[in-house]
Amino acid sequence: MRIVHYLNQFFAGVGGEEAAGNPPEVRDGAVGPGRALAAKLGSDYEIVATVFCGDDYAASNPSATEELLALVREASPDLLVAGPAFTSGRYGLACARIAAAAAREGIRAVAAMHPENPGLEEAEPAPVIESGKTAREMRPSIERLARAIETLSGGQELRQQDGRIGRAPRRNRLAEQAAAGRAVELLLARIGGDRERTEVPLPSFGSVTPSAPLADPASARIALLTEGALVPMGNPDRLESARATLWLRYGLDGLDQLEEGAFQSVHGGFSTVAANADPHRLLPLDVARELADEGRIGALHHEYLTTAGNGTQVATARSFGVEWAAELRQAGVQAAILTAT
């Protein structure tokens, strides 16, 4: 079986964060963790090529997946293996995206990462095998991955007992009892106090209870936030247009207006023409300054925070929220206006 292995720049031995912007490359044979994997797999399997890429490049460049896939295709593998990525977010996303893209075009693929890796939900339809949290758990992670590859090569699907994580595909099947009868049984269980039983697990987006209104806005410090991907013209810090993995802060001191041409939205989920013509449509700085001048709010926070809310992983968005709240609280901000697109 011909295998192509995907790694990030670190595990490929190219470098650390200083090499995170490196574009995709390919080498013949196994590299780094791939050698350990090959040793576990034995002579029926050959890692014919290793494709690798810098974490930043892979996570933020919209064409990265297609570029990587082209390199994978050239090696005409029977199977693409990506990772293990452990809890590394950018690496996990890259593994998930390359595995998903390969699977969609009919190349069998499997990725490996920790269940908390934000890439997990992007791997579908490719399966993901559980790995440890960090590279210290490389050996058991590689062993589990090797067993999974053997199962796949035998034509079987990976199941939970094979270490598969993430949402398993759901298949139709006939139940003994008609749906109406099952509904009555489920309802009786629910009335009886079983609040968990279900045939369709709910997506767990969570919910946030809004806090109480400000008692005294005239003495409050207010922050402006947006998920509309509003950044200075030219996007100097390379905010992604979709599936954001970073958020940014930009100063507002000395600005009363957001002039057309000085700011732009790089959001990939809506037409940005109107927002670019008048950035206040995303970030109401003009009105906020007026309110501050009139004394109706105490002060305006000296920075605004921005990210792109477009296909963002729920786990990623949740961590942004935690970081934003912590930062604003430290800065003495009592309330924030977060504009959504």
């Binding site: 398993a168 595909p169 759901r170 298949r171 099947r173 749906a179 009868g181 509904a183 309802l187 009786l188």
Partner: protein
Amino acid sequence: MSVASVHDGDRLGTGLRLLAHDVVEIGLGDETSYVDGRLSVGRREATAVLEHPALATVRLVCCSPGDRTRIVKVLDAVEPRCKGADGPPAGANGRLDPSAAGVFPGLLGPARLRGRGETHVLRGAAVVSAGFLPRAQEAVLQMAGAGSELSPLSATHSVVVEFEPAPGAPWEEVAAALRLGVLRLAAHLAQSALAVTPDSVDELEQVPAGSTGLPRVVAVTNIQTQGAFKDVLVYGRSMSGSLPTWIDPCELADGAVVSAQYGHPALKNPTFVHQNNPVVAALRASQDVELAGVVLCPEPVSEHEKRMVSEHAARLCAAVGADGAIVTKEGGGNADGDVALKLDALEDLGISAVGLFAEMAGRDGSAPGLVVAPTRANGLISTGNYDELVRMEATDRAVGGERLGIVDAAATDELEIPVAAIYGSLNPLGWGHLTCAAGP
């Protein structure tokens, strides 16, 4: 015509007696008759009850379970029923008039409350309409082999009504004529069993006023209200723009709800399913609950109307003392919102609620299955994944059309189609056995 009034209460009792006559064979004949389980559909009489200026021609074809037959472009299915001895008398010339059969109030005869007295049923039989109507998505019903198990209607002996519209007739009139004709034919067939001793008798109780101490459960039944060809009639009227209403389940058995909804092959509730409401039947069959009635709800399109209807439905359930409710829908992803909002609204009032959903999880079953999920009420039943493909072997015969547009193939060809195209397969009222779960 005599119509039961409230003063007939003592004579009619407090429930509905369903006199069931089992049908084990069906065929066309010279005269309509029901003898020893064989239903003969009289060509001349049946054609006469279907006659309408909006229909140029009608053709009748009989199909039975196990036939190597595929019915395509299925529009509706109706179980043959008529009122019994307490119902309207024979019409002129001593002939029974199907329009006065006492069932399908508001469509055959006046829209008076039904659900008491005696009703004859030809059990195991159906009148099925099939053919082209605007907005009707092509529904496939395989009578034998792989795929037939997904459609509960493959187990019935059916007379299929094919039709050609009259030249120039507006499609709405064609649909109405066909609907009325099929109801009349169903009543006409049932009338052939009026003098026959039933094979079984079901005593359907009217809703009691909370005497047993068991949990009281309401069947909250959402019905589609999206205009012509995508509507459902309650006592002959659309519920579009209405607030929810409570009815006694016995009224359903007499045809209080008739489908005029021809979209969503797998996600529609045919008239047959309203007559035999599976949620009501399952609640009646349970020893552990008390049926507290049916709340019928329209499915408006806008979110604020969906919320309003949901709140009113929950309040109606609370008013009849419900401890629980089972919520069902009709239609695609938009209608998920109606179920989700009602489940949350019911549980907010302290009424335990379970909803039936079909999943739209993609061909490989890996996408999120619900278009709109409840936020709090998490007790959900899956009636299967809409998108998964099913292979069906070729058949010897096709009824309802010669070609299938969805796959651009002859209607008798071997097919690979999504479950969504199989008539009744994901039935939102819980008719079928299909479900969906993770893993192999």
